[in-house]
């Protein structure tokens, strides 16, 4: 049967410097880098797209709806490959060559890919958050003589921003999990580190158990952090159930 050997974590990995545990921690560093980079991008883009989808400007709404559909209906893995292999070919020769030579291009591609992918989901949540407000609120804004941007700035967004925090928590957890897909374009994040530890040491289950535990810890930390934020941001007396997966 299987031979367990937990000491493997403290043995030196094939890079000759770090222990296997250290390579996993380094992997976690890349996981967080990719996830945070993508998350910032997704929040900015997703908020803009989500807000536009609730405005009365028809053509802009159509355009943003199309944006969301594109990123939601292609598997993340395929999108990764598109950004990594296909995208550089469409750029002018010099830029394309520069990008392909850059050692960190896989990380950049992963951030861009995950950023766009997640922005579509953030946009859905932002839209749902704004639409969950009573219609009377925007009407009241208009009645007061506020322009459309002013209605958003002073009436709708301050409320929606607070309502949308719980569903965004689960999107944040998703972006961390989804960053594992970056391993397919050779970003050595936590999943990739565990996979290479498994390939070199043959200690399959130690590698994956360690990675699983690290993912669970990160998840736990994020949930604790977001609960605190949610407590401060909660709108008293306004109950909105959070969005799921």
């Amino acid at each position: 049967m299987y031979n367990w050997n937990w000491k493997i974590l403290w043995e030196v990995s094939p890079d000759g410097v770090n222990t296997y545990l250290q390579t996993l921690i380094n992997g976690l560093g890349w996981t967080l880098t990719v996830a945070l980079g993508a998350w910032i991008m997704a929040l900015v883009l997703g908020t803009v797209i989500g807000v536009i989808r609730t405005t009365p400007v028809k053509w802009a709404v159509k355009l943003c709806d199309a944006y969301v559909e594109v990123f939601r209906n292609i598997p993340l893995l395929v999108q990764m490959f598109l950004w990594f292999y296909v995208m550089p070919e469409f750029l002018p020769g010099a830029i394309s060559a520069y990008i392909k030579a850059s050692p960190n291009y896989s990380v950049i591609a992963a951030v861009i890919c995950l950023g766009f992918f997640t922005s579509a989901r953030v946009a859905e949540q932002v839209k749902a958050g704004i639409q969950s407000l009573p219609r009377g609120q925007s009407m009241a804004g208009t009645a007061l003589g506020l322009t459309l941007p002013q209605t958003y700035r002073y009436v709708l967004l301050p409320m929606a921003g607070r309502i949308v925090i719980p569903p965004l928590t689960s999107e944040f957890l998703n972006v961390i999990k989804n960053s594992a897909v970056a391993f397919t374009i050779s970003v050595v994040e936590l999943m990739g580190a565990a996979r290479s530890m498994q390939e070199f040491s043959f200690q399959v289950f130690e590698a994956f158990t360690a990675a699983t535990i690290i993912f669970l810890i990160v998840n736990g930390c994020v949930i604790l952090l977001m609960r605190t934020i949610e407590r401060f941001a909660r709108v008293p007396g306004f109950i909105v159930s959070g969005g799921g997966h």
């Binding site: 209906n73 993340l76 598109l82 999990k177 594992a180 897909v181 397919t184 999943m191 993912f215 997966h245």
Partner: protein
């Protein structure tokens, strides 16, 4: 920018088609198995017997907090050992690609289907369950004849949306060199040296399929909403 040559797609289409069939097979069978197992998990999570509820919660929340890729690797390596343990063999058993994928996705998607069905069961008023008990049905009869049909119907659009996500997620098994739709395309891309054409084609086909399916789900959602 190199010249496009979509002729390669035509030439290798039978091979890609096989991959697409595999992906659809895995999707449908896993959705079916996942809904059944997920419903049982949901009933366990709502059980008044605390250890059962706790254990199901642990399983569901545990699998939901780690990446699907990690789960795919876990089951790929674990299933042969589990099989050996089940039938008492000394050596790890060999498991085929299809069986391995099915086990993985049923076990994983059951967690997501569980949460959907849990919401569905909770959407049925308690009074109906009491009514079931009052006319002499036991727990299983109340569940199967009264609660689950309604819960299932209320949640049908969400279950189908999750199935579309599952259809996209199956592409991840290509990391195990399994020839699903994307795995097949990846193989052709490397062998023929035509990554651009292959990846663009695959993306387009996935997009069209998923987009049309999601439109159909939206239509169904409206239809169900009117009847209720």
């Amino acid at each position: 920018m190199q010249n496009f040559d979509f002729e390669v797609v035509m030439r290798t289409w039978p091979f890609l088609w096989q991959g697409l069939i595999f992906t659809i097979e895995v999707t449908l069978l896993s959705a079916l198995g996942g809904v059944v197992f997920g419903t049982l998990l949901a009933m366990a999570r709502l059980s008044s017997i605390k250890p059962i509820a706790w254990l199901a919660g642990f399983y569901v929340n545990g699998l939901r907090s780690i990446p699907l890729l990690l789960v795919i690797f876990w089951f790929y390596f674990l299933v042969p050992y589990l099989g050996a343990w089940l039938i008492g063999a000394k050596e790890p058993v060999r498991v085929g690609a299809l069986a391995s994928c099915l086990i993985t996705f049923i076990m994983f998607e059951a967690c997501y289907f569980c949460e959907i069905m849990r919401a569905g069961i909770q959407s049925i008023s308690r009074g109906q369950i009491w009514a079931g008990y009052a006319i002499g049905l036991n727990y299983w009869q109340t569940m199967i004849k009264v609660v689950l049909p309604q819960a299932f119907r209320n949640m049908l659009p969400v279950l189908l949306t999750q199935t579309i996500i599952l259809f996209q997620d199956v592409s991840l098994v290509s990391v195990l060199s399994i020839k699903d739709f994307f795995g097949a395309a990846q193989l052709v891309a490397t062998q023929e040296g035509r990554p651009l054409e292959m990846y663009i084609t695959v993306a387009l086909i996935y997009f069209v399929l998923c987009f049309v399916l999601s439109l159909m789900v939206k239509k169904l959602q409206k239809k169900i909403a009117i009847i209720r």
